[in-house]
């Protein structure tokens, strides 16, 4: 393949390696695209009320929202790990009929509008929901409009990121290590716990960070399923949206906090990737 390509005469001004000769029909849209992604963030920084930022951020409501956001995103990630990693293992390692369909169902929340996810959660776990009515009458558990509801809504939206990431890592990992473990007397579960899990740890960590970041920014499913009660279900994105209607400066300040957290996550991920290689 490389031979035939090398044999063909070069056309057009693109040259590998050299910075010259990038054709303008590609260069102009590329720069536009870059500007489109970066300019809004710069605008956010430009309009930030730096002089009274501290007083904007020191209000108890902001701290409540931030704490709740961090708590719920972390709890949702933990929940995703506990049930998502075994699900990824099942999808990657066990042949069963309808596996393709199951994989499609798992990825559905990735493309589903989060608001629809929230409505679906209400239908399932709401006070009159398919499962929720039993939870209510048997155990007295109510999930909608509680902090637990926020965690569920975030996990619903974020877990597919983790499952997809871990499944990919599992597929790339050599299954023969598990075979080697079984010939040494390990049951399939022991092989998973003592061999596979440590081997795919970097993939799990990357997936967890992705899921955590997604959970932190969750808006649609959360507001639909858990509402918007300060101190209980009002996470940062909800607080930003609410503040924007009454106090735009507060909204900007809150957005800045989320932006900082996102950049920190990105830096953390990059660090992990460079040390893993």
């Amino acid at each position: 393949m490389a031979g035939t390509r090398a044999g063909r005469p070069r056309r057009g001004p693109i040259r590998a390696g050299a910075g010259r000769g990038v054709p303008w029909p590609l260069l102009v849209p590329a720069l536009l695209g870059l500007a489109f992604l970066v300019l809004p963030l710069i605008a956010l920084l430009v309009r930030t009320p730096w002089h009274h930022l501290t007083e904007q951020l020191s209000s108890t409501e902001v701290w409540q929202a931030l704490q709740l956001s961090l708590l719920c995103a972390t709890a949702a990630t933990a929940l995703s790990l506990v049930i998502g990693v075994p699900l990824a293992w099942l999808l990657a390692r066990v042949e069963f009929p309808g596996r393709g369909l199951v994989r499609a169902l798992v990825t559905l929340p990735l493309v589903l509008p989060p608001v629809v996810g929230g409505v679906a959660l209400l239908m399932a776990l709401g006070r009159n929901g398919v499962i929720g009515q039993w939870l209510d009458s048997w155990f007295g558990i109510t999930l909608p409009f509680t902090t637990a509801g926020v965690i569920l809504a975030e996990a619903f939206v974020a877990m597919p990121f983790l499952v997809i990431s871990v499944e990919g890592t599992l597929r790339a990992a050599d299954p023969r290590y598990e075979e080697a473990a079984t010939t040494l007397g390990a049951s399939r579960f022991t092989a998973f716990r003592r061999v596979t899990l440590p081997l795919i740890a970097p993939g799990i960590a990357a997936g967890a960070v992705l899921a955590w970041a997604r959970a932190l920014g969750e808006f649609g499913a959360t507001i639909t399923f858990a509402g918007n009660f300060p101190g209980r279900t009002q996470t940062m994105p909800l607080a930003v949206y609410l503040a924007l209607q009454s106090d735009p400066e507060a909204a900007i300040a809150l957005s800045l906090v989320l932006l900082t957290v996102s950049i920190a996550v990105l830096a953390g991920l990059r660090d992990r990737w460079t040390t893993a290689s």
Binding site: R176, Y177, T182, T183, L184, G185, A186, T190, P198, L199
Partner: protein, 363 residues
């Protein structure tokens, strides 16, 4: 010395209830079918030798329980293992690329098996460190696999497989991952460890030298079936398929003997010293062939065939010529001789072989 003893031992295959390995492995894979019978007594080292795709590794995986049997049986020291899952079989495996767990130290790799089989942490580590000691790896106990050389990794893999005290040790191409230099050392070490191993060892290889150095008995597998078995010397002297003849560097023909003459198919005749009747193999080394441009008149060789050079290649410090014609054969000759004869592909030659240099044996 021990080789002849061991072989005598093997001659009476262990029946049900006896010590050692008694296996008949049948694995069906649609187009490919493995059907191999394998018996060995404790202390035996058996090599499954065969070309790529012959089913050697499948046979090994079936012995380990990683591939289910579609037929036949598997008995080890009298116990039926057909349906036993791999983790419950008293079997140790050294995988081709070792598959040492990269996140564990050499010591913990070796201690993994004993831990899984119920030993306490301290006990498992003590056993592992004793084994590493025996392998001369005491200094590397704390090293991660990626810090080990190929030869060291191979010994750790062997120690890991031995740590569960298996009654059957399986080695898949144990030397294939090593470069030529380390291979020599590791082969000698492995031979010592295998000789000291008290239970059955089965190794899979496509390298006849590895097989002959390491094993007491060769089982040659081609296309899923056993085509020949015997001591390394026997198999090398009396190959029964083109594959082995090629491996040990012999010209091999199958024909019908009538006294000292062997008819190969309907065409050429080979004269031998052996007096045999019926189906036979005839083998002779390429070095026994002499080539002439003119029909030799004064040659004392009893065998004379008209051939044509099909190809030439250097082979060590000699030239190896592939010949077609009355009889297809390979001939080795010195470089000056090849130059003197003006050998080129397409050139017609006469090939002679003395009867005394052929070897005929019943098919």
């Amino acid at each position: 010395m021990t080789r002849t003893e061991k072989t005598a031992h093997t001659a009476d295959a262990p029946g049900p209830g006896a010590e050692g390995l008694d296996a008949h492995l049948v694995v069906d894979r649609g187009a490919f079918r493995l059907d191999v019978a394998l018996t060995a007594a404790p202390g035996d080292v058996v090599a499954l030798l065969g070309p790529n795709g012959a089913g050697k590794t499948t046979a090994l995986r079936a012995l380990a329980g990683l591939v289910p049997l579609d037929g036949g049986h598997l008995r080890l020291d009298g116990a039926l293992l057909d349906r036993t899952p791999p983790e419950s079989r008293p079997v140790g495996v050294v995988f081709q690329d070792y598959l040492l767990f990269p996140h564990l130290s050499a010591l913990d790799n070796v201690a993994f098996g004993p831990r899984c089989r119920g030993a306490g942490k301290a006990e498992a580590r003590a056993r592992a460190s004793e084994l590493l000691d025996r392998m001369g790896l005491a200094d590397h106990a704390g090293a991660r696999p990626r810090r080990l050389s190929g030869g060291q990794a191979q010994r750790v893999a062997l120690a890991r497989a031995l740590a569960t005290r298996p009654r059957l040790l399986l080695l898949d191409e144990p030397l294939a991952a090593l470069d030529a230099r380390t291979r020599l050392d590791v082969r000698a070490q492995l031979r010592r460890h295998l000789a000291a191993f008290e239970a059955v060892a089965v190794l899979v290889t496509h390298d006849p030298l590895d097989a002959m150095v390491l094993a007491d008995r060769l089982v040659v597998v081609e296309d899923g079936r056993v085509v020949q078995e015997g001591t390394p010397g026997d198999v090398a002297r009396r190959p029964r398929t083109d594959y082995i003849a090629h491996l040990v560097g012999l010209n091999l023909y199958q024909g019908r003997a009538d006294g000292h003459t062997v008819h190969v198919g309907a065409g050429p005749v080979i004269t031998t010293t052996e007096d045999l009747t019926g189906p036979v193999f005839v083998a002779f080394p390429p070095g026994a062939v002499t080539l002439h441009r003119e029909r030799p008149t004064a040659s004392s060789a009893r065998n004379l065939w008209r051939c044509e050079i099909a190809g030439l290649e250097t082979h060590g410090d000699q030239i190896r010529a592939d010949l077609t014609g009355e009889l297809s054969l390979t001939a080795d000759l010195t470089t000056p001789a090849a130059a003197e004869l003006g050998l080129q592909p397409g050139v017609a030659v006469w090939a002679t072989v003395k009867a005394a240099q052929t070897h005929a044996y019943p098919a």
